[in-house]
């Protein structure tokens, strides 16, 4: 059963199967970055277990000159470095795909497939011959296979050497030994292997000014730019690197050059409850503060989130979502915290959610969240996920408008209080539902008030009177309506021809959706697309749905949580919102979206025109 080897230039998927803790991560990243430097877009994804050392880990790199950065599905080349997962890794290859493996120990023919190309290289033997230190033998094995791959796939060695030069600047010994290992691999491949393969890389110019960064670092940087000074956190996968990156960037940008003092405070709290408590305290006292967490942390923070909502305190929460419920799949991705965050805490509550699509927006939305939290005096969630947060992604460069000011919101000053300005902490003076606040210590005799989670009148005096309660909670609804006008607005991509079919999507689904839209367009399916960027939904969302008979809602959770929010908040007839749900913990693919939508477009589920709520008529 011989199958033609896959032929593809700048359009293939290569997967590295490694052992956790073997030092493969940096070599694999080097591989991805080298292709990027050749002007060809790549999107790598870490697929890793909840483990420190010894368990299987994979690194899947999609190479796509077309710039499709979503996970594709299917593997064209497997670098099989882990005997534990050999059978599954070999089975995953597409027919005609390439298997690269360490052939130091011979394997029986039954371990291979007749429909793939097998490339054996005695990596262990080569390294054992050159290096005596066991640690070096292991680490350089990774660089040696990168060297071999550079020959097989025609990756320019100069590019890799340049990357080494940048990485080991000032560490000449390390630089030399890495270059040596690279050429060890290259020399062997040139001498013993059939190169190049049918799949290969060719220099292009499709990367432009894009940057290659992970979403957690980007969100942390957004917090630095957005003026966060207090960060309180508790370690939890996949969000821990947000706080760690914040620490790194603060050390770089936030140390007073004259005094050496820090213009930030980071506390690793005893748990998520204390983390959010510190953020609430700092926000109450006028410092911009954030925490980063994931689903289980949000569950723990819920009581405080309700307090911040009701007492109206600015809070920013970066939720890097992972697979739930409970401990769920800590190292897998999902968009399954939407409802838990949108309605966090007991009683009637609603919270602002921002939905970044990539690291560029993680940066933007983190900074925007700090502004919105101050402006709206309420918790604001940045709903990223593991796929965005823990993978480096090619995206637009970060940008910051010169002279951009923080929006500190309605904070009454000592001068205003002194001048006799009326201060009602929970009083709506201009119809937007947002009251004025004062910070502790502002004025000797005016503007103090008692913050509490209990009901109060517009002047913050304790009250259990019905009218006072209604004034307050109805004002909070008005404030939420104001929020819908301030949050990042949706982005629409209209089909080439007029259509009555639409699709809504958000967050990390974005790259797979972009690709799916191109594929569907090529198949003749006309689909208007709207990318949601925040909750509460601006009016344009209801208008978009009203303008279509059938709207797909693509999301990465089991229960169609975004669809629930749409139905609940906009009073949409559920029959018009078709679920497209991906929730196995892997990032959603264009293939999945395309086939799900094609199934419905060919056989419409509800042929009869749907009844529109009157307020949704276009």
């Amino acid at each position: 059963m011989s199958v033609r080897p896959i032929e593809a230039v700048n359009d293939f998927v290569i997967k590295f199967a490694n052992v956790n803790g073997s030092g493969s991560a940096s070599a694999n990243e080097l591989f991805a970055k080298a292709i990027l430097r050749m002007g060809v877009p790549v999107s790598p994804r870490n697929i890793f277990p909840s483990n420190i050392q010894g368990l299987p880990t994979w690194y899947e790199v999609r190479v796509s000159e077309a710039g499709w950065l979503g996970r594709r599905g299917g593997i064209d080349m497997m670098v099989a470095m882990n005997p534990q997962t050999w059978d599954a890794d070999v089975a995953e290859l597409e027919p005609g795909g390439y298997l690269f493996y360490d052939s130091t120990r011979p394997l029986p023919p039954s371990k291979f497939r007749p429909d793939i190309q097998v490339i054996g290289m005695p990596l262990t033997e080569i390294c054992n011959a050159v290096y005596s230190d066991p640690r070096q033998r292991q680490l350089f094995k990774n660089i040696v296979y990168v060297g071999a791959l550079s020959v097989l796939l025609e990756i320019e060695p100069e590019v890799i050497e340049k990357l080494f030069g940048e990485q080991y600047r000032g560490k000449e010994k390390l630089l030399a030994s890495n270059v040596q290992a690279l050429h060890l691999g290259r020399d062997f491949a040139r001498e013993h292997l059939n190169a190049p393969l049918g799949i290969r890389v060719r220099r292009a110019d499709k990367v432009g000014d894009g940057i290659f960064v992970d979403g957690n670092s980007a969100a942390a940087l957004g917090c630095v730019y957005g003026g966060a000074t207090v960060a309180a956190w508790y370690p939890i996968t996949p969000s821990s690197s947000v706080a760690e990156a914040f620490q790194k960037y603060c050390a770089r940008y936030r140390v007073d050059p004259d005094t050496g003092q820090n213009r930030y405070a980071i506390v690793q709290a005893e748990d998520e409850i204390a983390s959010i408590g510190m953020v609430v305290g700092a926000g109450w006292n006028g410092a911009r503060a954030f925490t980063a967490t994931s689903g289980p942390g949000v569950s723990l923070m819920t009581e405080f989130i309700g307090l911040a909502y009701f007492a109206e305190i600015p809070v920013t929460i970066i939720d890097v979502q992972r697979g739930g419920p409970s401990t769920g799949m800590p190292t897998r991705t999902q968009q399954a915290d939407l409802l838990a965050c949108a309605y966090a805490s007991h009683g009637d509550t609603k919270h602002v959610l921002l939905l970044p699509e990539d690291p560029h927006e993680c940066f933007q939305h983190a900074a925007a969240a700090l502004d919105l939290a101050d402006r709206l005096q309420t918790p604001v969630f940045v709903m990223t996920d593991l796929d965005i947060g823990m993978n480096q992604r090619l995206c637009r460069p970060f940008s910051w408008e010169p002279g951009r000011q923080f929006d500190r919101g309605k904070v009454m000053t000592a001068e205003e209080l002194e001048a006799g300005k009326d201060f009602g902490r929970y009083k709506d003076v201009d119809g937007d539902g947002i009251p004025w606040r004062t910070l502790p210590g502002t004025h000797p005799t005016r503007g103090s008030y008692f913050t509490r989670g209990t009901t109060r009148d517009p002047y913050a005096r304790y009250s259990e009177r019905g009218p006072d309660y209604l004034y307050n909670v109805d004002r909070l609804l008005r404030k939420f309506a104001t929020a819908a006008t301030l949050v990042p607005q949706p982005i629409v991509r209209m089909a080439a021809e007029p259509t009555r079919v639409g699709v809504l999507y958000f967050g990390s689904t974005s790259p797979a959706m972009a690709e799916a839209l191109d594929v569907l367009q090529a198949e003749g399916v006309q689909l208007d697309a709207m990318r949601l960027r925040a909750f509460p939904f601006p009016d344009s969302v209801a208008r978009f749905i009203a303008a279509h008979d059938q709207v797909f809602v693509v999301e990465q959770n089991r229960d169609a949580q975004m669809r629930t929010l749409l139905v609940n908040e906009l009073e949409i007839d559920p029959a018009r919102l078709v679920k497209v749900l991906h929730y196995d913990g892997t990032p959603i693919t264009a293939r999945f979206i395309t086939s799900a939508i094609l199934r419905h477009v060919q056989v419409p589920a509800t042929p009869a025109p749907a009844r529109l709520a009157p307020e949704l008529q276009p």
């Binding site: 630095v224 207090v230 959010i276 410092a287």
Partner: protein
């Protein structure tokens, strides 16, 4: 949580302190606690301490959790911002507030349910972290607002008003605070104002985490025979380890004690704690001794009060974090935002 405000009229002859305030300026709303509640005496002691320390009321932030004790910040320092947070979580909110603005004074008010039961974790970690604050637990061994259930500080064998005997061993917050690294640890009694006021003054001026456990009898649910937190029980078993005088840096120090009786402890900010030792040889700067001494007396059924331990040179979380002298909440864009040029440079490093 009353909405009854006290009349703001002051008698013109009321004595003013150095910053121009009378005692009345340190009051809050009228207490809604039961008549005779120990907590109201503590509020009065806080008012007295702040007035005597010449603190401008608005420079204090008062934070509490949930419970009878946590309601009290509404009854003192009406010109201060207050924050009645969630049950057992005052320490984290206070920590965040303190990080945001290091120049204010932070008063944490909590109860035994709030700090020893639901909030034991946050209590412990705030002590460990050395947050600069005066943390006062108004300890009555009972849940008042929910009508008389035991709290975690109730002594083993003590009897509730309904006659139920507590079989759990008690959480000793003073012992915990000592063990966890608090740098000012005291125990007071709400019925002993002369001792309590200087303890509160010392705690407020302390450079790190200051903790005072104040036994405060609950007249409604825990002031009966069989209770170990009743007025009678505490008066009979109170064993004061020291008499403390608080002397601010600018006051003249006069020696009115005989030699050997007095321990002068100068704190970080120059203030002086003058301790008249009632127990010969008791050294309040020796943590291990304080711990052993307290446990020894506790075993004999004595409630040891006074300043049990102080590290006069204690520093706080800001020192550990090396935060800027200028409060974080006062920093502007120029101080916080690296700007577009730095971002361009960063972008270049990510290609």
């Amino acid at each position: 949580m009353t909405y009854i405000a006290k009349p703001p009229l002051h008698h013109p002859t009321l004595e003013k302190n150095k910053v121009g305030y009378t005692r009345r300026d340190y009051e809050g709303k009228i207490s809604t606690l039961c008549a005779g509640c120990g907590h109201d005496s503590i509020s009065a002691a806080i008012i007295q301490a702040c007035w005597e320390l010449d603190i401008e009321p608005h420079r204090v932030a008062k934070l509490s959790g949930i419970g009878c004790s946590s309601k009290t910040p509404d009854y003192f320092l009406g010109a201060s911002h207050g924050f009645n947070t969630v049950h057992g979580r005052m320490p984290s909110v206070l920590t965040g507030a303190n990080l945001a603005h290091r120049e204010l004074l932070y008063l944490g008010v909590s109860g035994d349910g709030d700090s020893a039961s639901i909030g034991l974790g946050q209590f412990a970690h705030a002590m460990r972290r050395g947050v600069k604050m005066a943390y006062i637990v108004e300890n009555n061994g009972v849940y008042g607002l929910t009508k008389g259930q035991f709290s975690a500080t109730a002594d083993q064998g003590s009897k509730s008003k309904k006659g139920v005997v507590n079989s759990d061993s008690p959480v000793d917050l003073v012992g915990l605070a000592l063990q966890l690294g608090a740098t000012f640890v005291a125990r007071g009694f709400s019925g002993h104002k002369e001792q309590l006021v200087p303890l509160i003054k010392g705690a407020i001026q302390h450079g790190g985490a200051a903790f005072i456990d104040v036994i405060s009898p609950c007249v409604a649910f825990n002031n009966h025979p069989g209770s170990t937190k009743s007025y009678d029980y505490v008066r009979e078993h109170n064993e004061a380890v020291s008499r403390i005088d608080f002397i601010s840096g600018r006051e003249e120090i006069t020696a009115d004690y005989g030699p050997g009786e007095v321990v002068d402890v100068r704190q970080h900010d120059g203030t002086l704690l003058r301790l008249r030792s009632l127990h010969a040889g008791y050294d309040p700067t020796d943590r291990a001794q304080a711990m052993a001494y307290m446990q020894d007396h506790q075993a004999r059924g004595e409630v040891l009060t006074g300043l049990l331990f102080v590290d006069p040179l204690a520093t706080d979380l800001h020192t550990a974090l090396n935060t800027s002298d200028r409060p974080l909440n006062a920093l502007d864009e120029a101080a916080l935002c690296p700007g577009p040029a730095a971002l361009d440079k960063l972008n270049a490093s990510l290609r």
